[in-house]
């Protein structure tokens, strides 16, 4: 009994399939050997005055600050005004998920016309030639880019062009429990310096619950390495100077020592298991650092009076990083779709709408005119907590260190070093050394060749 013919047919079929598959492989995916410059060189300036906007566009959002209903309302108003319909897609639960989906879709024609572009992601979109500069089209629309809060718009600048427009923008804030503050006999304000908070610890500790503490924080990707910028800047250090890592400088190490001692020596701070804002709202910790985007939630959830203040300074000053997300327009869409997306983008971030968005979520108004508008001034008078972020932005904002926001994966690695120090009590020098070669590899592989 022989199976030879059948087997031969099977082998032939399999071989054919394999060859076909390999042939297809060769034409799909990235082009090997090309640099990203080859691709972007083709892009020509569009004469926007000759373009008719598309009538339908898609927007990928994660509805920052639980803004889904508000986003839908903007869409309705925009459609009534322009006749352009916008399909709002929940493309993820947070900035990272939206970005991951956007990356995965980049080789397909399933891309949106407008997409969330957070502080640690927009540059990667740009490196991959996935988004277009917005300067020309915003000028064509008379969008008055000069009215955007300078610190917020400048975040998206590279090669003298802007690659996104600020949308749900935040800074970290110092949140404190006013009731506990009062009970401890402290002045009604946040500590000016970290040293002052350490001094206040003794009186605050008496007022916090048994398993609580004066100050609490949590770590995690897209979070830990953000608030830690304030502390490392406070000792005169930084993650990097340009793309050169500076984690081995005495100033940076002092920042590491500071956070180490905060958790392990003075015991002022405890680590929140998952969500430090939940621990704060329930009164377990007397103070914490949270995003401005958490303000509305904290005011609603807490049964005590919530205070907000600038992030404390360290011995060498301090500063606050900016964060949150902007919106970007994919480069591969047609000029018609891009123009419609830009019109919607302009609408979303106009004075009235950014003010409304800020009131509903706690994110900062992205336009100077909105901060000064009657609506916002009324809000600031009624709920002064909203004011802190805007003032802090003007007084204390500092551009984030390049390595954290521009090198893919560096934020997660910096958070890992921070977790070594905070959770395991590792010596900061050893913790920083453990991540340095990995950040350097990420830079040389994923950034340098594309610059």
């Amino acid at each position: 009994m022989s199976h030879t013919p059948a087997r031969r047919a099977r082998t032939a079929a399999a071989a054919l399939a394999a060859v076909a598959a390999l042939g297809l492989t060769a034409c799909a995916g990235p082009s090997v050997g090309a640099t990203s410059d080859d691709a972007s060189a083709d892009a020509e300036a569009v004469d926007w005055s000759q373009v008719e906007p598309a009538t339908e566009i898609t927007w990928w959002s994660n509805h920052p600050g639980q803004s889904q209903d508000l986003e839908k309302q903007y869409i309705e108003e925009f459609e009534a005004e322009t006749g352009i319909s916008v399909d709002l897609v929940t493309a993820g639960a947070d900035y990272d998920e939206v970005a991951q989906r956007f990356q995965a879709a980049s080789q397909t024609d399933e891309l949106p016309d407008l997409v969330i572009a957070s502080d640690v992601w927009w540059f990667r979109y740009h490196l991959n030639d996935q988004i277009m500069p917005v300067d020309d089209v915003m000028e064509h629309l008379d969008a008055d880019a000069a009215d955007f809060q300078p610190a917020l718009y400048a975040d998206y600048e590279y090669d003298d062009q802007h690659w996104a427009v600020p949308y749900a923008r935040s800074t970290p804030l110092f949140y404190y429990n006013k009731d506990l503050w009062k009970a401890a006999g402290l002045p009604d304000r946040g500590p000016k310096t970290w040293a002052e908070l350490e001094k206040w610890d003794r009186s605050l500790k008496k007022e916090t619950p048994k398993d609580g503490s004066t100050f609490g924080l949590s770590t995690g990707p897209s979070w830990g390495a953000w608030w830690f910028e304030n502390m490392i800047w406070g000792t005169g250090g930084a993650y990097s100077d340009g793309f050169d890592l500076t984690l081995d400088t005495p100033e940076a190490l002092a920042g590491g020592e500071f956070v180490h001692d905060l958790f392990h020596t003075s015991g002022v701070a405890t680590l929140s298991a998952d969500d430090n804002m939940a621990d704060f709202s329930s009164g377990v910790i007397a103070s914490t650092i949270g995003s401005t985007g958490s303000l509305k939630g904290a005011l609603d959830a807490a049964s005590f009076e919530v205070g907000t203040a600038y992030l404390p300074d360290g011995p060498q000053g301090g500063g606050t990083p900016t964060g949150g997300t902007g919106l970007a327009i994919p480069s591969s869409k047609t000029p018609e779709e891009q123009l419609a997306a830009a019109m919607f983008l302009e609408f979303l971030t106009n004075t009235e709408n950014t003010a409304e968005f800020s009131q509903a979520t706690g994110y900062m108004p992205v336009r100077t005119s909105a901060v000064e508008s009657d609506a916002m001034q009324r809000t600031y008078a009624e709920t002064p907590q909203f004011r802190t972020a805007v003032d802090q932005l003007a007084d204390k904002a500092r551009v984030q260190d390049d390595v954290r926001v521009f090198v893919p994966g560096a934020d997660a690695l910096l958070n890992e070093a921070l977790e070594q120090i905070v959770i395991e009590g590792t010596d900061p020098k050893a913790a920083f050394e453990s991540i340095t070669p990995r950040i350097e590899t990420a830079y040389s592989e994923n950034v340098e060749p594309y610059l």
Partner: protein, 324 residues
């Protein structure tokens, strides 16, 4: 005593026993050849759509992934660089690889071993004539049909060391709750427990089906011979369950090595990578760090591991299987 079950009733419901191929006709003719060609045509026609789907959705991505593993490619970028086996060399020499492999082995052994042992126990219990048995079976199986992500989020609340249900229960016993999210090895213990809970019902259900396929007369015969119930379990029930055990071992091992949702929902592989398994590291490298080429190399390694594990099981474990 070597128990032998009647042909029909001993087969497990799992599909582990392959039907024998039909006897070939010894007599061949030209007519037969034509008939065979037609049969082949029919077979191709009928199997074609499935084969095409397999090619497009299984083998094509597999080849694509193999090809990508030779590139240094920023996910989403139009350009890439050929690096040959560079990604593999990097994986085998990376300082984090040892930790990731250890975590994967611990998680897999604990989840598969735990689910098999507890699932068998649960099945034996549910196989008895108890009141409310139907309800108990449904309750035991329910977690399996829930979304892993939702299960992860729910358990995250229960494990919370400050307000969670578990610290409350431990408090009644006078035990302080471990720092489930932060102190090693608790995060790994936590995701293991949740994975076990979610999959236990499935294992129990398959074992239950296996148990019910064991003919009562065998057990009666064992009882007549004076075998105790534990002896019957060891000498009759367990050997007859080996096809089920084998099937569960293969499927559970494969699914445990590929588990992602619970880890993503509960710990995101952290803290400090203490819950980063091989599978999770593939996600992290490709979608968080954007290193799609390197991630494809890790995916290929995982694929080879799965292939090897399955081959070993097929070759050695199957020999010990007692098909009734």
């Amino acid at each position: 005593m070597t128990p032998r079950a009647p042909e029909a009733s001993g087969a497990p419901p799992t599909g582990a026993t392959a039907p024998r191929p039909p006897e070939k006709h010894p007599h061949r003719s030209r007519l037969g050849a034509r008939r065979r060609r037609r049969a082949l045509l029919w077979a191709l026609l009928l199997a074609g759509p499935n084969v095409a789907l397999l090619l497009v959705f299984v083998y094509w991505p597999l080849l694509q992934s193999l090809y990508l593993s030779t590139l240094q490619w920023n996910l989403g970028s139009p350009a890439a660089r050929f690096v040959g086996l560079g990604n593999y060399v990097e994986w085998f020499t990376a300082p984090t690889t040892g930790r990731i492999v250890t975590t994967t082995v611990v998680f897999t052994v604990a989840t598969v071993g735990g689910a098999m042992a507890l699932g068998l126990g649960l099945a034996l219990l549910l196989n008895r004539r108890l009141r409310g048995r139907g309800v108990a079976r449904t309750v035991a199986f329910a977690p399996y049909v829930l979304s892993g992500f939702a299960v992860g989020i729910l358990w995250l609340f229960m494990f919370d060391p400050r307000y969670g249900l578990i610290q409350e229960l431990l408090g009644w016993l006078g035990v302080a709750s471990p720092q489930w999210y932060t102190d090693r090895p608790w995060p790994l213990v936590m995701v293991t427990v949740v994975y076990l809970w979610k999959n236990l019902g499935y294992v129990a259900l398959i074992y239950l089906a296996g148990l019910q396929a064991i003919p009562q007369d065998l057990k009666d015969a064992a009882a007549l011979d004076g075998a105790s119930s534990s002896r019957t379990l060891r000498a009759v029930v367990l050997p007859l369950l080996t096809p089920t055990t084998f099937f569960l071992l293969v499927t559970m091992l494969l699914s445990s090595l590929q588990s992602f949702d619970i880890i993503k929902a509960m710990t995101s592989g952290g803290p400090l990578g203490s819950t980063t398994t091989l599978m999770y590291s593939i996600y992290e490298e490709s979608f968080v760090n954007g290193r799609a080429g390197y991630a494809s190399a890790v995916a290929t390694v995982l694929f080879l591991v799965l292939l090897a594990v399955t081959a070993v099981q097929m070759r050695f474990v199957q020999r010990k299987v007692h098909y009734a």
